[in-house]
Amino acid sequence: MSNGLLPSRQLIGVTRFHWQQLLGPIVVVIAVSYLTSGVSASFSYLTEGALALLVMVLSLQVFIGNSGVLSFGQAAFAMVGGFASGLLTAPVKIKENVLDGLWEPLKAVNMGIWPSLVIAVLVGALFAFVTGLLLMRLSGLAAGIATFALLMVADNVFFNWKLIGPGPQVMPQVPKFAFVDESIVLTVIVIIVVYFFGISRRGRLLRATREDALAARALGASVWHLRVLFFTVSGGIAALSGAMYAHHAGAVTARDFYLGFTFTTLAMLIIGGASSLWGAVVGTILVTAIGQVLLVLEGGVTFGSVEVTLPNGARGLVIAAALVVILIWRPKGVTGGKEFNLPFLNRKSAAAHDSHVQRTDANMNIKP
């Protein structure tokens, strides 16, 4: 019986280290980032934003993909990270003038972007750990609704409490990244972290709990411990994503990380394929590309003598439709939940791996 998000009964997810599964996504991310950011300044800005989103999708992947538990709460940790990093780096003068209710020590502090990123990740991970200790007792729908409640609490608190942030206003004058390179480096680091957590012993045990919680317990796995660990890692990465977003946009508000953000990143993960790192990368690239084409069309484009203008809202419409279509016809996402694999490289070991998986499948299919 599948207890979570992913259709069960087929073994998915990596078990052993294959260099191309790690290098493939990294090379693709670096290549696509430099190709698109080379086009123009506005494309460079777009690429930076997409990388922040990719980090968020990876944060969802490392928790949801491995545990099979649906969580809406990661956006709350992105909010924590974005606010932490934004508040720590904004000029003291600005904070004194604009954010009158802010806690004094927060007003006085000022640091560079890199140390603030480290603090943002730590604060996000800490929040995830503390909330995870309670929430990871739940599974299935109860976990989905409880993490959703966490998002609502975080949004409500950040939107109103001026002691810890700008409240309903915009947090302005957050220093921006100078180049797109910073975002690329951070994203590559996150890809490496997510990959190694996925193939680690604990990652494999967590996926075992996803497939059959009782059997995994019999192997000595504590579902709660494993989920708390991955929830914490995921929370830290989500906070990094929020911080990257703040330094990309140069400003941050509570509503940047609310339902729209949650929906977009979740859609990217599902469309790409929730059970693999490669799926997260493909989903983010695809959805960003489709969204960008539609955004241009919303502005109006002339093909020869025909002018095409899509109404505002077409972007969300198409992405939502894509999500539903994928869930119906290809529930494992466009990658099928598989990791990056070039058949002509490494043919022998990949083939051996595949046949092993198929045999196990046949065994598992006996009992529906």
Binding site: G140, L141, L150, A213, V324
Partner: protein
Amino acid sequence: MIQTILDALSYGGLYGLAALGIGLVFGVMRLVNFAHGELIAIGAYLMIITIDLGLPLSIIIAVAGTAALALLMELSVFKRLRLAGPSVLLIASFGVSIFLQRSYEIIFGALPISGQIAPWMSGVIEFGDTTITRGSILTIILALALLAGMRFLVENTTLGLQIRAASSDFQTARLLGVRSNYVIGTAFVFSGVLAAAVAFVLVTQRGSVDPLFGVNITILALVGTVIGGLGSLQGAALGGFAVGATISLLNSFLGNYRVYSYTWLFILVIIVLLIRPSGLISNKAFKERA
């Protein structure tokens, strides 16, 4: 004080109706329908657009349109996801919800459309020195009438028997000859009718409708359905009532801190889920293996 209690009761009744609509569908197919809010929104749009035809006709059009959209949702999307787990269904309904919101934005525009539906609802009645709004009393009456109607339908008719059977054990009900697609389709239609009722009350209160019209009440009603008890219709209605009444009471008693009423409400929700993960009134068949 009387107004506070009446407000809590009418909020509770309204949210109970919304939660019952969600709970009906959840019971037969384990779908927590995020897109219920867009059913409420289409009801409100239809009422405001057709109000010139007169209130009764406008209400009939809204009820029929909302029920038709609910059925369309089931036939086009959820019917194809019969084998999916509850989390996949929840995400799919999230997608349907965003799809419909953007459709409304394209069709009706992003800005609110205003219209006066039944302005007498906002009038007040005076009892000595306390005044109470007609709207809150009518909401309570409407909620009680619909809840009683649904109760009769579910407890005393063959169709209701089938819905209850499908709610408590879907597979066995199917084996015993309950036509599953028919029962699920009917549940969607009734949930659409309940959504239209909620739309009527909300649109008389607010006097305008926009693409996000149904989002807030649906979030709270969804949570109410889940904490009330998965798969039990009384549980869903009671959970919705509890959430609505709590938010109304928090708004009255927190005074200047009422902006934080959502924080307290959702902390309560998390506590309830931690103590009783399968809801206050739980149904054995829906306990998930952890």
